[in-house]
Symmetry: C2
Subunit: 322 residues, 2 copies
Amino acid sequence: MSSEKLSETELIKRLFLPLARNYKGALNLGDDAALIPDHPGLDTVITTDCLVEGVHFLSTDPPAAVAARALRSNLSDLAAMGACPHVYTMAISIPGHIDIRWLEAFAAQLDTDQRAYNIHLAGGDTVATPGPLNISITAMGHVPTGSATARSGASPGDGIYVTGTIGDAALGLKLLTGQLSLSDDVARDFLIDRFHFPTARIETGITLREQATACADISDGLLRDLGNICTVSGCHAVIDWELVPLSPATKAVYENDNAYMELILSGGDDYELVLTGPEDLHGPFTRIGTMNSTENAKSPTTVRKNGEVLAYMKSSGYEHGW
Amino acid sequence: MSSEKLSETELIKRLFLPLARNYKGALNLGDDAALIPDHPGLDTVITTDCLVEGVHFLSTDPPAAVAARALRSNLSDLAAMGACPHVYTMAISIPGHIDIRWLEAFAAQLDTDQRAYNIHLAGGDTVATPGPLNISITAMGHVPTGSATARSGASPGDGIYVTGTIGDAALGLKLLTGQLSLSDDVARDFLIDRFHFPTARIETGITLREQATACADISDGLLRDLGNICTVSGCHAVIDWELVPLSPATKAVYENDNAYMELILSGGDDYELVLTGPEDLHGPFTRIGTMNSTENAKSPTTVRKNGEVLAYMKSSGYEHGW
């Protein structure tokens, strides 16, 4: 551990100012706020996600993974609405056990992600906390006026699709917490990597503006996020387990113990997109079911396995109570 | 304490959805992100401030005061740049000791402030934390394209002005922590109220777009925030203690013990505006000094008392180290 101590001003100058250098409106982080110039013809999409140490990530997670998940969980929200990333602000509450080397690795990954996703740090707030590390990012993106994809546009008859593969991140987290073990190191590393470094589906989201009737990102689990589309669209989703795309690693875990089906479908942290659209939609996604009317539906989503309707499956995903 | 328990979804629906009802782009908090329609001819000003329980406010502070400070510290940043408030997002990390009644009072004050400042909740994130209450608000406002007031425009010869009175909030905090006592209950209540319920100077900020050469809000103390204007503008500020506007309550504390001058000038949390402009600027603010060149200046700001230059005064304001 480094014993170097930096003031708030020095910390911002050393770690965060370089992340704002390429965005003129950040005003070199020297003002009270950032300035985003008028972008005629574009609507702004804005989203806020908060990650708390010990709740949304593990204290032992590498700083690069924490940075990637903090930023990409927001980018994934932009992707769901079809927005191009533009700028973000970050409020970070830093406890004493987080040292400068940890923060340097964290900032380095933000820099990498900024280049990969073409987004810039525009401002933020750096404060001390006696509690866990708390990272709150607000990301803004743009869509041509009136073209954002919402959750509310699905209709009965629409096909249901997902990008990528489902369930990997939830299994990765189980591996990290020791609740699951795998002898296959390649599979193990793959699943953990899917938890640590999710991919925000920006390009696909942009393509879908013209094609999807509804879209959401899968942060709280496929069944819950698809369920949210159903609730606001007034539809009932029927999906077939056999159609849900699984990675080889996840497939192997499931084949070894079928009980993992529930975690795969409701575990969360996938940051893939779930969308609805015409039955014959083609693109980098997989058809998993069909939207029906809500008539006689007992829950927002129904899962079938080998054509048989499964009994009610916990679909609430990750939820805290107060 | 209430024993009622709510899920995250229920909490958002009951407390935060009503705060978003009047903003169509909030999409009833039912989407992944909010949608801010194109506002042709307007630049967007965006700011993020984070408040941590036990760091930026006391656990014993009333929920209404916490809400007011969380939102108004951001509104004050908008005011400094001359922006009209538009929308905000809020990431709130809630510990177990904060109950539903506390949160209801918190949300009620946000509602009051939304009406007073004409701003709307557009989205956010509600999460659990094992640590202190952590509130991060990102506020957005609008200015006519190119008309935002920055910190960097001050020139030698400019007058230096402040709104309201200085030092009240810092003394209010001393009263709350028992480091200062006052027999005058009216003065005591006034100073605490200035800490709990600062006024964001939105109207004055809008007027100043055309008049001020530079502006900042006083969050970290007059000397530090004025010093930041000096640093980015390349000027040296000379202010006269006798000109600094004090409330009767603060004046009485100072007259009883002159050592409070330093706290008054550097204590922070005023959320007044400090600005520079022509020597004969008139408005709801008070002239406190003049901008000079940086030649022979040993620090960004110099304070004179009865015409005599005071020895170096701690002007760093509130700053943490890591």
